[in-house]
Symmetry: C2
């Protein structure tokens, strides 16, 4: 039997053998990996896991059911596992030479060839881009990517008649549907578009169809307005920031890398990995910088908070990047957590490196970094301010990007704080239970747009209980915030100043974030938020936090016996009002405990303000929301200055039962000047003065300023106990 299989292979014409595979790896690459399989433990275990799973499945009857269910349902999951299984089988055929894997793929492809031509629109389709095998076209594109590679991987084993059947039956209807019926969608500059191009392009390479590949590269009209190259030009900034944010770069990086990898073999002349000054390398690095030390992606825009860099997408991207971009030790730390590699040249090489670096303490090199947004990098951006090493890392995310397409949130000038691996000032992420059929088929839930995307769900200013840009995505897409200045070279004093002047009519916002560490080791974030308007407004500045309230410096009225929502629209209706306080001319403080650290927010209150404790969960009839607390500062004014100092302090150990430095060291906040020109604030810390003088209108680096008896260079000056910190 084994002999017969071998003969089958040998009688195929040599030319066909030479041309395929090309998409995932080449024949030479496969041979080299084969030789390494037993050599490097991580490669061995990755191979064995794939083989074991595949062997268990391919003995079962092939199931290609008529599409019926939404995500999480039987037919959805079956088609999803089918394409992964076909791809894995194709890889295994090349690595083992066992033709049973190839035959199994061929048989399944023939079933798809029978099913696909007559498929109607999916019965569960609700999106504007409905699918055929799945409820949305995006999943059909996923299917094309992996099924295309599977076909290519076993191409040399398929009789010519079957090839025709498969190419015309399984692939053509799907490609036609995406490129004709959904032409507009196919040409969109959006993560769906990347998947669609990758799918059609990979199938093109697998089926030797130049037309498909050209449409994939340059759009259906082959004019470069749509297509993969345009996706590479327009969705990334020059430094690799992906406009939809870290959660979606995690998703989009897969088709980018898989299609680029296939093009690298099939059209080496394109030099796709060098394209745009290696933008795909930058994208990967930027994506990884936008993670917490536990590997989870920062939950900006629509984002599932559980998603981390051990996901299949990142395993694949790193396996490809390692080979084409050279070995990056930071990626090795990621690969170690992933604990598996893809079975290509890069994966084998990572597995070899892991043996060399066996006892090394691999950590990902998180650093302070800023990314511009937009194709030209000048549509706002995001600053990641970092301080501390390894488990003690503090990361402040200051977001002043453009809207971020359809998954963007109305969160101009938002800040988030991670510390010691914990999310401290939080972003709700998205309201979605991906893959869970009972929760609307795993799709985004209505509370996603109604709450999670709204401004009140973020740590930034809400004017008159309406969201930025009136919560209108199209209006939001037209504008972006702007960084006006930043200084990030000194880890003990990192400053970013950004402005937003379009989110509300006649309201200008300037938020200055100072992240500093004093000689005592204590870390502070001084958040100076200036808002100016000719008319009186209600200004709400929320701090969504994770943790247990420990202490407040002020008395409040708790709603102990009855709770009502905070408002009735724009996300406010999802917050229960738990307590309220009215405070006058003071510095208010509240301390909470998150895991084993204390955090205090000290807020300057001139005149009067209302303070609100709120919690998500109101107006949630389906129990779709988590119940998370927020502290909201509310002011009525035309113009207003918010100064909040977020202090990281102390240590709590419930096992050893000790509590250290549980009290904030900030004592008082005073403002001696605040106008269009300058803000001068003094923060008393353990009896010493932290003084911040800041220009509000002139941000040139070398300009000399003089105010409040202080003279300084550049937009800001910080002194502590009389000594300059700049």
């Amino acid at each position: 039997m084994r002999l017969l299989r071998t003969i089958c292979l040998l009688v195929l014409p040599v030319s066909a053998l030479a041309q395929h595979p090309l998409t995932f790896f080449t024949r030479a690459e496969a041979t080299s990996i084969k030789n390494d399989l037993a050599r490097y433990p991580l490669l061995t275990s990755s191979f064995k896991a794939m083989k074991q799973e595949t062997d268990a499945m391919i003995v079962k009857e092939i199931s290609v059911p008529f599409p019926k269910d939404p995500a999480g349902g039987f037919t959805h999951d079956r088609h999803k596992s089918n394409y992964m299984l076909m791809f894995n089988s194709g890889v295994l055929y090349n690595l083992t030479g066992d033709v049973k894997y190839a035959n199994w793929v061929r048989k399944m492809l023939l079933k798809y060839a029978a099913l696909n031509p007559a498929l109607p629109k999916h019965p569960q389709a609700t999106s504007s881009s409905p699918g055929r095998l799945f409820w949305q076209a995006l999943n059909d594109a996923n299917w094309l990517v992996y099924t295309g590679m599977a076909y290519d991987l076993i191409y040399n084993t398929i009789p010519a008649t079957d090839k025709k059947t498969i190419e015309e039956g399984a692939f053509k209807p799907e490609v036609d549907f995406l490129t004709k019926d959904l032409k507009t969608w196919f040409n969109l500059i959006h993560n769906h578009g990347v998947w669609a191009c990758a799918g059609v392009g990979i199938v093109g390479i697998a089926t030797n169809n130049k037309d498909y590949v050209d449409m994939a590269l340059y759009g259906t009209d082959k004019n470069g307005k749509g297509g993969f190259l345009s996706q590479m030009e327009n969705l990334f900034s020059p430094d690799g920031y992906y406009t939809e944010g870290p959660y979606y770069v995690r998703y989009a990086i897969l088709p980018y890398y898989l299609f680029a990898n296939a093009l690298n073999h099939a059209r080496p002349g394109l030099k796709i990995f060098q394209h745009r000054d290696r933008v795909l390398q930058k994208a990967l690095v930027a994506g990884l910088q936008q993670t917490n030390i536990d590997g989870r992606f920062f939950p900006l825009n629509d984002a599932l908070k559980e998603k981390d860099y051990t996901s299949n997408e990142l395993v694949t991207a790193i396996g490809i990047a390692w080979d084409v971009y050279g070995q990056d030790r930071g990626w090795l730390a990621v690969a170690k957590r992933q604990n598996r590699v893809i079975l290509n040249k890069g994966g084998a090489s990572i597995a070899a490196a892991m043996v060399r670096e066996k006892s090394a303490n691999l950590t990902f090199p998180y650093k302070t970094v800023e990314y511009g947004d937009g194709a030209n990098g000048r549509e706002g951006g995001v600053s990641l301010l970092r301080n501390g090493a390894n488990e003690d890392l503090t990361s402040l995310i200051y977001k002043y990007t453009s809207h971020g397409l359809s998954h963007g949130h109305f969160d101009k000038l938002n800040i988030n704080l991670f510390d010691k691996g914990n999310e401290v000032l939080t972003d709700y992420g998205s309201v979605r239970f991906v893959g869970i059929e009972q929760k609307y088929g795993g799709r985004y839930l209505s509370e996603n747009d109604a709450y999670a995307a709204q401004t009140i769900a973020h740590n930034t200013l809400v004017v008159d209980e309406t969201s930025h840009f009136g919560g209108n995505e199209k209006r939001g897409e037209r504008y972006h915030s702007d960084k006006v200045y930043s200084s990030i070279a000194n880890p003990a004093l990192q400053v970013v100043i950004a402005k937003e002047e379009n989110a509300y009519d006649n309201v200008k916002m300037l938020r200055s974030v100072y992240m500093l560490q004093l000689a005592s080791g204590r870390k502070f974030i001084v958040d100076i938020f200036n808002v100016n308007s000719p008319e009186t407004h209600q200004y709400d500045l929320p701090f969504h936090y994770e943790g247990q309230l420990i202490h407040t410096s002020f008395r409040y009225e708790p709603y102990t016996n009855q709770q009502r929502p905070l408002g009735n629209k724009n996300g406010y209706q999802f917050l229960w009002k738990e307590a309220e306080a009215r405070v006058f001319d003071t510095t208010v403080q509240f301390t909470f405990l998150n895991n084993r650290s204390y955090y205090s927010i000290s807020s300057w209150v001139p005149d009067s303000a209302t303070l609100i404790f709120a919690r998500t969960g109101a107006n949630d009839p389906q129990f779709n929301l988590r119940h998370e607390p927020a502290f909201i500062l509310r002011k009525r004014a035309a113009s207003n200055l918010f100064i909040n100092v977020i202090e990281i302090h102390g240590k709590y150990d419930p096992v050893m039962e000790f509590s250290m430095n549980a009290y904030p060291s900030v004592q008082r906040i005073e403002v001696s000047q605040n106008d269009k020109e300058y803000t001068i604030a003094t923060i008393m810390i353990d009896g010493k003065r932290l003084m911040i003088t800041q220009s509000n209108s002139v941000f040139e680096k070398d300009r000399v300023h003089s105010a409040g008896g202080v003279q300084w260079n550049g937009p800001f000056n910080v002194t502590f106990d009389g000594k300059n910190l700049n």
Copy 2:
């Protein structure tokens, strides 16, 4: 200088050198450990950590402040760290021979000798047993335990006049206070009493004071009614269950082991470790069995949920037990997580074993086990039903104990479920932030008694919105539940039946818990709760769960725009009512997701019932409560049968985005007979019948029953798809 120190030691009389130290270790033991210090990595690192910490502290000025603050405050924490530092310094003196450690302890002891005689009652004292150095006498007893050992460890270096000063100034006032002023408290059978006896006894051994040791052993009147031996007789059942529950055995095991260890050296004739058929060994084993796979103690009674077996108490107990009871490989798994050892013979031996077992996969041998409660083991008890290995372990805790002294909760016939390391059906634990000064000095908060101890906070029956025994501790102490039958030999079918007939007047409860695993691998808990009364009552059966609500089979009215507490007393006032449903003649189901598994509760509803979704957090003006969900079944009836099937199913992976078996396989519950004699229930599972026939009055093992067309032996019979599972 070093020479001078050595001479100092040598000129002390030989007899004194021979007698001390005795409490923590002997001189010979110290010498042997000294030789091992560099030999075993875990011993080396434990020694280095202690030395580093101590070296950093003893160069600072000695601070013995006048007591002022509650727990978490400066003076509290200072005295607490002082006694640990003195003990550690004493150990280091013996292991390094460096007299600086001894001198430092002596100096501090002299400061205590000056402070203690004139101390008034602590200004923050609020308990019935106030302390002097601390707010409560319990902490003063802790001080005596460690300070007594410290004194003993450096005894040989202290000039005679200083000895007199320290014994009369530092120790005598404290011992007198505990044994005279707080005589009743000292003689109490309670964890406080164990600490008090250990403190006075260890000081007695350290100061060669027979009177102290005798009071510690036999009570202040030396008649054996109080004292350590009585504590050993009365607080444990014969199989080692500690009546206050796992959280407090974790605490009490320390003075038990430390004093027993000292007695083992000082009064070997007592054979204290063999006492009562090695009850201290059994106590340690039982304490460890009452943990989750992450090492956390089951949160029965007043319990901090974070507390796990890496705490100092367990490190100490295992370090002593390892030597006196022989090497237990299960303890090694625990020691590995603890990642440190105490610096005695046992600790050194564990460190040596760790080298031998370096590459072994050490796991604690969790098993199904039942413990009786009470000195005779016949005051009810607890069953821990287990199924599965390692990370896949399922643990059901069925509690039918006595009240458990002052930290007991009103939770007769309560069940809790842990699965795959997660708490699934939860116990609130205690409302307390131990060690955090801002939260009432780290003491138990008012919500502890008002909510956490009440019946509604547990997964057991509440009659007419009042707690068991009217929430009266004294009444609760008079009674205990009783197990009437159990069968735990077959992991696929474990059954425990227990009854409670005193918690409410004229109400009899019989709860039968079946934990079973079918051939498909799915695990189910069938919970048959029979309640009988001549009068009509409101019966509430809550299931407090951890997780995200995924689906309900029934329609409910959600309180989306206004929330009110569920009731106004006995704990009900702390629950917000989130939703309510009225259901008729049906099987209702609700599914939630906890971490990466699905759980469904299917409930039989004959006639009608009210279903309530509630959440803790109402009437909590200080924000002391966590916000956790509960599902409550409410029936109005004289007698009622609740049948609930808790099913563990499926798998969810948000990183890989798959969801498997998200639906329960239970379809319907039917009851064909329910009366004083028998309950016969049928549960339809994927189209097959699971049939449980149970006697409600005759529990002898070999009795033959016949009902509903079935004939069987013993109290119950279970068939699935026509085949017997017994």
